[in-house]
Symmetry: C2
Subunit: 292 residues, 2 copies
Amino acid sequence: MTDLWGGIEAGGTHCVCAIGTGPQDIRAEIDIATTTPDETIAEVIRFFLSNEKVEAVGIGSFGPVDLTPTSARYGWITSTPKPGWKDTDIVGKIGRALEVPVAFETDVNAAALAEHIWGSAEGIDNFVYLTVGTGIGGGTMTNGRLVHGLVHPEMGHLRVPHDFNNDDFPGSCPYHGDCLEGLASGPAIEQRWGSPAGSLAEHNLVWELEAVYLGLAVANFVCTLSPERVIMGGGVMKQPSLLPLVRRKVQKLLNGYIQEPAVLNRIDSYVVSPRLGNRAGVLGAIAMAQMI
Amino acid sequence: MTDLWGGIEAGGTHCVCAIGTGPQDIRAEIDIATTTPDETIAEVIRFFLSNEKVEAVGIGSFGPVDLTPTSARYGWITSTPKPGWKDTDIVGKIGRALEVPVAFETDVNAAALAEHIWGSAEGIDNFVYLTVGTGIGGGTMTNGRLVHGLVHPEMGHLRVPHDFNNDDFPGSCPYHGDCLEGLASGPAIEQRWGSPAGSLAEHNLVWELEAVYLGLAVANFVCTLSPERVIMGGGVMKQPSLLPLVRRKVQKLLNGYIQEPAVLNRIDSYVVSPRLGNRAGVLGAIAMAQMI
């Protein structure tokens, strides 16, 4: 009998749970709407208790979260602006109910880990994983290890030049106004243009402006981290014209300064989509459980 | 008899060489003007051949450099705009002449390493070292290891919002115009205000604007890397009013989003000066030689 592992991707709108051993072997899966902590966590627990037993569970969570094992608030979602979720001990509640060990990470680090093991960063020890959707978040691996640092990266809150000549939208971030997330997340697109991103596919200006901001962000990550690859996922990246526009913008911004074939001549394999798509998060959570 | 080690900090204007074992034990030291590669490297070799023999040499060099051990151009200064220095095999020339092993790093990574061993990042495994002078460069350590990635970080070339309301200087970077280095390096200050930074000590507007750009850069590094500390050195940082201004700007930009005492309440020990001052580079090069 194979040991089974549980993965939980706790996102701001959906909470995906799965049981299995990897991308080719998922035995059960559920997509729960993220409502209140009590309701959502109860549904997560019900899913695991009503399926085959797992050895351990991994949680990749929206944040900010406390990842410091020695901290009194380890395993908590901390200062999130999401109503009701501030100071939620997600690891404690789930671990006690399921009576299994729990691994904990940011949602984007979990996704980055899965892409490293099974996806677009297979064999690559230095890369950035960025997701552009309801929010913008990023995880990064350097020298083969995920980066936590003081807290964990909050790449969505990068400051990039606001293109005031073409964009008078003030930005939607409650903390920073026109930071990257405030200018380029799904809600920012919807507020600026008056329609959801998904309905704006034919409007080239929307995607050209989006590529300006995402291109600036990627160029900044290249200058700061020198990744060997940049993976861009999330709902907003589903617009097919966007990734090619971002690639061209990154090359234009770097302007030949980074004299590497990956950037100069092979940008299509340098800035890429996640091979695991939107399953990266929950698969990474399963991988984390296996690594406990 | 103690084994001795050689350190070379190859900077854009000066090349500092030292022989010893660490900050408390430097037996010989020289400061050479960086002129042509032939002339400068010949002087470096002369210094080491006319002093006590070293076991190995470390070089922390201005760049861009090739740090990939398997590359045909490993140990070269590659696409630098510095006249005469493009495609210089600095490791090969020095290693062959001195007949010792040579370790090679960026100047900023060498300085970061020294600060980690003997300086402001002692015991800290995730930090950023930024130098603001003739150019702007940064090195970073994550999980206790220096970051190289695809090439190496080029933090000076970060894009930050240009404060057009207060600053119509177009930027001095030949590649990017108003990137961080183009807006906030020593030459950018001199070109904008018409006098060298060192003569502008009494002009508050100069340092307030400088703090705007450096604060944006530090806030971006915090969002991207989540460092446990940020060390800021280099000639421009010698202005005593600047570091406190940068700290306040960083707090204002992050605006309480990073809920960590280090950022919220202890910013004076979060954004700091290098304890080793301008000797960090050459001391880091000595440490690299010891680690071969």
